[in-house]
Symmetry: C2
Subunit: 131 residues, 2 copies
């Protein structure tokens, strides 16, 4: 399976989990290729809006480009959304990490599997947060 | 140009207009083909969220399938969005019509060019509405 295909499948998995829990969720077309900032997924439940960037990782450390996170935060500030990164490690559940919890490096941001498991929320924890 | 391509171009035109006016807007991937309801475009400005279905028409009357409008309203009620139809007639400006202003027919909904021009809002009128 191509990387792009795997990415789409991962996004669909999250969208399913969100609808199952009563949230409306959608995949964004051409995210990453449009001239305007946009997340991979947008979800809402009348009270909160979540802008989510998805990543599947087989490595212990996951890196994000500075611009990737900047664009996510930029989109969220215009739309009125919360910025989250969804991380899926092999044979682990999805972890949701607020962009403020990513560690800044010279070239971007980084998070390790250990930190993701400590600071990252499971989907039900994410959705139960109050605004 | 294929119909699909024309549809995407029309959606992009609206997305440009929205960003120019300080709204965050995105195209939805696979709208119409996903198992979950979704609009063509979603836009937000921290206070309001607009779920928009786009149509370009050369005919005087524009028809919508019952299910198309039902799904749009369904998505909006879960997400917490307003449901709008964007209509573009040849050599005319985009008109935005609230789904409540579509006339119900046996098989779906209908709007004529005349009614669209009377009841439809121009984009600046749409964005200036208070919630």
């Amino acid at each position: 399976m191509s990387l792009k295909r795997k990415g789409i499948q991962a996004e669909r998995e999250i969208i399913h989990m969100l609808w199952e829990r009563g949230w409306a969720a959608l995949r964004v077309a051409g995210s990453g290729s449009m001239q305007f900032p946009s997340p991979d997924i947008l979800a809402g439940n009348r009270l909160r809006v979540l802008a989510i960037e998805c990543k599947v990782s087989r490595n212990d450390k996951k890196y994000f480009l500075k611009d990737e996170i900047k664009q996510l935060n930029n989109f969220s500030s215009y739309f009125g959304a919360e910025s989250w990164v969804a991380l899926k490690y092999y044979r682990e559940e999805w972890r949701f990490i607020n962009t403020e919890d990513l560690r800044e490096t010279k070239r971007g941001y980084c998070i390790s599997k250990d930190v993701a498991k400590i600071k990252g929320l499971l989907i039900d924890e994410l959705l139960q947060l109050s605004k």
